[in-house]
């Protein structure tokens, strides 16, 4: 029995180490390559840089217009995330604490949204936005972000808020609070762990989103980082150094973001699972 558990432990460690290597090595390789000129990458793809070549970053930032893409990414991510989380929280509150007869049906509709992929609706979405006159606008990007973000966020918030005892709301009602005050002063503070998770999850998703911006926008001034970085690939010229530098510019903020908030992410999911 002991032998079996030791073997099991070794196997599981091997599996985890392999997975970590598979994830971390490309990341490290990308970061190191960003500091190598194109010729050196082609000649010695797996070697660390002979000297630290920073020009890739300067060129990528200026030639690739990453500054404006960066700002656009921040705008789309922040606005869409704030609106998505607020709507999902208020929806989750209503669906879990108001006991409407139609509540279950509406909740089902939301969760059905989880099954719809961006690719399956991208063409009708493009046509619709063109007819509405919002294609190629920031609003035209933010609205689908919110729509695609809502199903999972409503699912998360409804599940969590359902776990908050009804008596807390009833107690606040007797204390004289109206529903808005209960939502703002009781539900939101109590749901902080899940709100952190919702924010982080939605923000990461929006930051990395590619296909919607690529399809729904054509003007450089309103495109985001993933599309900007993609423009380094293909075309007539190919500079791997620039591509890697652009990728690092796009990825590093998210890695820092994750490192800062990783505890919150774990707490949020754990709290959702074990709420009394």
């Amino acid at each position: 029995m002991k032998r079996y558990s030791t073997v099991g432990k070794v196997l599981s460690y091997l599996l985890m180490i392999s997975f970590t290597v598979l994830t971390v090595v490309p990341l490290v390789w990308m970061i190191l390559s960003a500091f190598k000129p194109h010729a050196e990458i082609v000649r010695h793809p797996l070697m660390p840089p002979l000297s630290w070549y920073f020009d890739n970053f300067v060129l990528a930032w200026t030639q690739g217009h990453l500054g404006i893409y960066f700002l656009n990414s921040i705008f789309y991510s922040v606005v869409a995330t704030v609106v998505t989380v607020l709507l999902a929280l208020s929806g989750g509150y209503a669906l879990s604490k108001f006991f409407y007869r139609s509540g279950k049906f509406i909740y089902m509709l939301y969760t059905l949204g989880l099954l719809i992929t961006v690719h399956s609706v991208i063409v009708p979405l493009f046509i619709m936005e063109t007819r509405l006159g919002i294609s190629n606008t920031r609003l035209g990007v933010v609205l689908p972000y919110i729509a695609f973000g809502l199903p999972f966020q409503v699912f998360l918030s409804t599940t969590y808020i359902k776990g908050i005892p009804d008596s807390i709301q009833e107690s606040a009602i007797i204390d004289g609070a109206n529903y808005f005050q209960i939502f703002w002063r009781i539900i939101i503070p109590v749901a902080t762990p899940i709100i952190s998770t919702m924010f982080i999850y939605t923000f990461l998703g929006n930051w990395n989103e590619f296909i919607l911006v690529l399809t729904l926008t054509s003007e450089l001034s309103i495109r985001s980082l993933p599309v900007g970085i993609n423009s380094f690939a293909g075309g007539m010229s190919r500079d791997y150094g620039l591509q890697f530098a652009a990728l690092v510019i796009g990825t590093v903020p998210m890695i820092i973001f994750y490192l800062i908030f990783r505890d919150k992410i774990a707490q949020g999911f754990a709290a959702g699972a074990t709420k009394e």
Binding site: P165, S167, I168, E170, S171, A172, I173, I174, D175, G176, A177, Q181, R185, I186, P189, V190, T192
Partner: protein
């Protein structure tokens, strides 16, 4: 303070489930009323209707003579203490107690004064800056009560506030709530499934079963004169012993015959039970109304074999199996009784109760 009147109150849920059926209760100013009954008897639903947390299907609810059926909870001037305390987990004890007053836009100084006054009464002054998770069950309960006190409401509602506490703490808090009632001289409505809480705290007890009021009365009245078999069995611990017995005449006397023994009825009982001669009735005797004997006597003793002995220190509960029933008696703890011993219990027939077998109503 205030009066509360419930007139023909009914609660029917979607699907036709009748949770509360035609409830009529008059609660006087400063009265401590306990709604008691088993799970699903409608006591909590009744309380929640008084609080305004449940709609009233039909009937009238008056607080201080004013119809409040459609008045929202915040305007009923009531405060409620919940079973699970329902404290706001992200707020300190102080903020929990102050929340209702802040929402009602009381001046800061008054809020502070009221919170500190309530904290002093409940002896939780040193806990004011703590969060609920840093409190014990008893402390949380005190905070929940404090949150009600600061509002100085017309009516206090308690929904099984002690059921999450351990036995010792429950007894302590019971006394504290009773003392609080005496101090505040407030109208209080208290829901519990624990008949001991009801008997020890209430001025008036409302016993409910399946949404219907079985009896309303003072603790001693319910104990001594139960309306029916349910109330007789619900009030008192251990519960009243019930046996199906046939009323028979023997000469000028009447007896209740169990099969293996018979008991002679008193003159009062004779008058009441004459119409039942030849019929079966339910005989009831409380465990504390029997005494122990070694010698069986026809017409005077319940005879059987000891099945269980429970020494409790101050008294001993002895379970005696007759030919058809089991009878429990509270006896002197100094008497030595062994399991399987054949003994007799002498019931105090003046305190015995008889219930109609079909209607289960007391024959009186």
């Amino acid at each position: 303070m205030a009066t509360v009147e419930l007139k023909d109150i009914c609660k029917i849920y979607d699907g036709g489930v009748k949770a509360v059926d035609n409830v009529n209760i008059d609660i006087h100013d400063r009265e401590f009323v306990v709604l008691v009954g088993p799970s699903g008897c409608g006591k909590s639903t009744t309380l929640r209707m008084i609080a305004g947390l449940e709609d009233i299907t039909s009937g009238e609810l008056l607080i201080d003579g004013k119809l409040v059926n459609d008045v929202p909870p915040k305007d009923r001037d009531i405060a409620m203490v919940f079973q699970n305390y329902a404290l706001y987990p992200h707020m300190t004890v102080y903020d929990n107690m102050a929340f209702g007053l802040k929402i009602r836009k009381f001046p800061k100084e008054e809020i502070d004064q009221r919170v500190r006054e309530a904290a002093k009464i409940l002896d939780i002054e040193e806990l004011l800056e703590r969060k609920p998770k840093a409190l014990s069950g008893g402390q949380r309960q005190r905070v929940a009560v404090g949150r009600a006190i600061v509002r100085k409401p017309k009516v206090f509602l308690f929904d099984e506030p002690l059921s999450n506490l351990d036995a010792k703490l429950r007894v302590q808090m019971r006394t504290e709530i009773s003392a609080l009632h005496n101090r505040l001289k407030a109208t209080m409505i208290y829901v519990t499934h624990d008949q001991v809480e009801a008997l020890t705290m209430a001025d008036k007890i409302v016993v409910m079963k399946l949404g219907i009021i079985q009896q309303i009365g003072g603790p001693i009245e319910l104990y001594n004169n139960p309306n029916n078999k349910f109330v007789a069995g619900f009030i008192g611990s251990p519960p009243m012993n019930f046996m199906e017995m046939t009323i028979e005449a023997d000469g000028s006397d009447l007896y209740a015959n169990e099969g293996s023994f018979r008991l002679k009825l008193t003159d009062v009982q004779k008058k009441l039970l004459t119409p039942y001669v030849g019929k079966a009735v339910t005989f009831g005797i409380r465990p504390e109304d029997v005494t122990f004997s070694h010698s069986p006597k026809d017409g005077e003793t319940i005879n059987g074999q000891v099945s269980v002995v429970e020494p409790l220190g101050s008294e001993t509960h002895v379970y005696v199996a007759t030919s058809k029933n089991q009878v429990v008696g509270k006896i002197d703890p100094n008497v030595t009784i062994k399991v399987e011993e054949k003994i007799s219990l002498i019931p105090d027939m003046a305190k015995a109760k008889f219930f109609d077998l079909e209607t289960e109503l007391a024959i009186r």
